[in-house]
Amino acid sequence: MGSTRRAGQVVSMRKLSCRARWHVAVILVSACLFPLGQGFGAEEERLAVVVGANVGATEDEPLRYAESDARRFRDLLLELGDVRADRALLVLGGSPEDVLRSLTEVRGRAAEISRSGRRVLLFFYYSGHGDDDGLHLPRGTLPIAQLRAELLQIPADLRVTFLDACRSLGRAKGVQRGAAFALTATPDSPRGAVELRASSAGEAAQESEEYAGAVFTHFLISGLRGGADADQDGRVTLTELYSYAYRRTVLRTGTGPALQHPAFAAELAGTGEVILTRPARASATLEVPPGADRYLVFSIPSAAVVGEMLGGEISQLAVPPGRFLVARRSGANTAVATADLTWGGRRKLTDSDFQPIPREELVLRGGRLEVRTRRIEPRAGVEFAPGSAQSVAARAGAALSWALGSFDLELEAAYVGGNANTTGFNGTEQSVTGGPGLAWHTYLGRWTMAMGVGLELRYSWQHLTRPDSTRAAQAGFPTFQNSSFGSLGPRAGLRFSLPLGNHLAATLGASAAGLFHREQASLGGNHVVFRPILFATGGLGYAF
């Protein structure tokens, strides 16, 4: 227990003493045993129970990412695993009774589906502490035997269990061919039970600061997102997933404080592949350059790790629509790139998209790195100043901003021009305006919303003429009035931007400002007046 730090990462040791005795009738690792690919289709309905618990028994050191891993796993099932949201039950930090209640609920649903003649596939995922006695939940232990019994009572054709919690005593590392058993190939889809465990006997399942999650779950998710699709047919099968998760976990933990060998156990009958996900159906796909480099994909702005790719293996990853930071590690060199897949689609990154970054900075900030921190944004719009000589004017300019985390420093300059009318004069007023500002931004789905305050500095020129200037001139009166003046005041605004790609974003904003300036009285003298203005502008931002 406790934690150790190695190579910039903190690794927590999950509960070591797990002695679950899982009966494995057969271990099927060869795809040739399932010559017919069986896809999940209209005849198959999928259910899931996803459990995560950071806090275990009193003697367990709390985990950091068990519950977030559970959320990520459930999201993945919804996204690529063909599990409907109302059929994916999530239990976070709950008691054994909560878990059992969820299993009971799923049992009822499975029975209902079975009665309709459709095939049922059940996913059970657990992330947290556990040992040979059971799963350590915050308010008690759920005995493994009871869990297994409950799972068996669910009338599912196939049960796929992922346990990222413990190690199993008495089992060899990795994949082991079990005792021979009589397998009768049937035309049916695979039926039975499959279990993937994070570690083997005597090993610890580990959490990683770099992944912000458990190592095994990280590779499960990466594999299910397409990293495990060895034959690149757009589907990730059970065998592909285990193969991938095993290799990657062993490789990754080999550089850490403790080696971890994921284990696989299955009791299956039937024919065909067990297809877990279909990355090819994802609405967004991220592709990295071929090569031996390692790519870690972070979601922006949450900085959550979405998955991992090895350029030399499968170089594409199915991701949900959104923005991503891709960190590349190539030996001692690190580089990052961003990809905007807000609208879905496929984004193929090239070497030129990556910019070098110090390794220390990558380790320190991870997915919160800002790659394109500067943005220039031409803007145009209209400005209203009710009650002033220039009530409506056009506004055009540009803003230059620097992103500092959730804050933006902005410098805006603009031209404002339009007609100006007083009681006795008509003419034009033109201004150069702008100033510094500070904005805080947040994300609302595809939109980025920024709320900012700043200072508006303005210098204006008025050229006014009398409407009856010809007659006034003939009568000997001055016919025009030229004046210039400065004004100053606070500004606040709200701005929304919608990404249009990796560099471009369309923006729309509205601001209010109050300007103080001196105003000339008709009969001489002057006084300071407050001029409220409102302006709305649209823009096109280019990040670099």
Binding site: G387, A389, T423, G424, F425, A475, F477, G486, L488
Partner: protein, 287 residues
């Protein structure tokens, strides 16, 4: 050094923000400002006292057309007031004058009218020709004083005027006196241009005859009465205003007959005179 530069930049920005002055939405420096004083008032001063400048123009038929122009009043009513003329006379009010040498000039002549804005619409409501009553109520008009406005070249004669707005004292039209050689109204005095800063004196009388200054159009008729330079006794028509000399040996009468408020007005004059020793003829109007 860098700090000094930054501080200098901020100071410059602050100074810049305070520099210059804008023309606000109500900016309208007046072309001229007139100063007035209420010398006497025989009527209670109403709350809605306003001042208008009514321009007069003669059309080719000789009719007098009037156009009212609002004035900004900075008032210390009921005693003193200042009038800001913020607009030029309407084009409708402009006349074309010719100098002796054939050169033309454009001018307008107007009167100040102090009135009660009875209907509260903020303007002096001029009356049509057939009006039988008034809308607003004229309280007073400066006597023998007009505002004279000139564009383009200045008229060569009379001298004293200048381009723009002028304040002009007009000669008075005086009724003939009993025993005078003629029995028509006579002009007394000459036109005189006054500085714009001259104090305009107004008595608020609300006299009914002032209401004619609100007529949009009037047709003056030539005064009738005596023909020739001498007076001959004549029959005094009923309703005529008779003025006798102290001895009762001479008289003039004046009979004005407006049909309606804004209709043509004609005044007939007549006169009579006898020797002091002669007996008074029958129907002699003087005692």
């Amino acid at each position: 050094m860098r700090f000094e530069m930054q501080r200098a930049a901020w100071i410059a920005l602050g100074l810049c923000a305070g520099c210059g002055q804008a023309a606000g939405p109500h900016f309208n420096p007046p072309f001229a400002t007139l100063f007035g004083v209420i010398t006497s008032s025989s009527v209670p001063t109403p709350s809605e006292v306003r001042v208008a400048l009514v321009w007069r123009k003669k059309d080719p038929e000789g009719n007098i057309l009037r156009v009212a122009q609002k004035l900004g009043v900075r008032a210390d009513f009921p005693v003193r007031f200042r009038l800001d003329i913020g607009t030029l006379p309407p084009a409708d009010a402009m006349n074309v004058g010719m100098n002796a040498d054939g050169s033309a000039f454009h001018y307008a002549t107007g009167s100040l009218i102090i009135y009660e804005d009875v209907n509260g619409n903020g303007t002096l409501d001029l009356l049509p020709t057939d009006a039988v009553g008034t809308i607003d109520r004229v309280l007073g008009i400066p006597e023998h004083l007009s505002v004279f406005y000139v564009e383009s070249s200045v008229p060569r004669s009379p001298t004293g005027s200048q381009r723009g707005f002028n304040l002009r004292r007009e000669p008075a039209q005086v009724d003939p006196q009993p025993g005078a050689a003629t029995c028509s109204s006579v002009t007394v005095g000459t036109r005189q241009y006054l500085p714009l800063s001259s104090e305009i004196q107004v008595a608020l009388t609300a006299a009914p005859e002032l209401s004619r200054e609100m007529c949009a159009r009037t047709t003056p008729a030539p005064d009738g009465g005596c023909s020739g330079p001498s007076c001959f006794p004549g029959l005094v028509p009923p309703g005529a205003l008779v003025t006798c000399n102290p001895g009762g040996t001479a008289y003039v009468y004046k009979l004005c007959q407006p049909a309606t408020l804004c209709a043509s007005s004609t005044c007939d004059y007549g006169c009579g005179q006898r020797n002091p020793g002669d007996p008074a003829p029958p129907d002699w109007p003087c005692p």
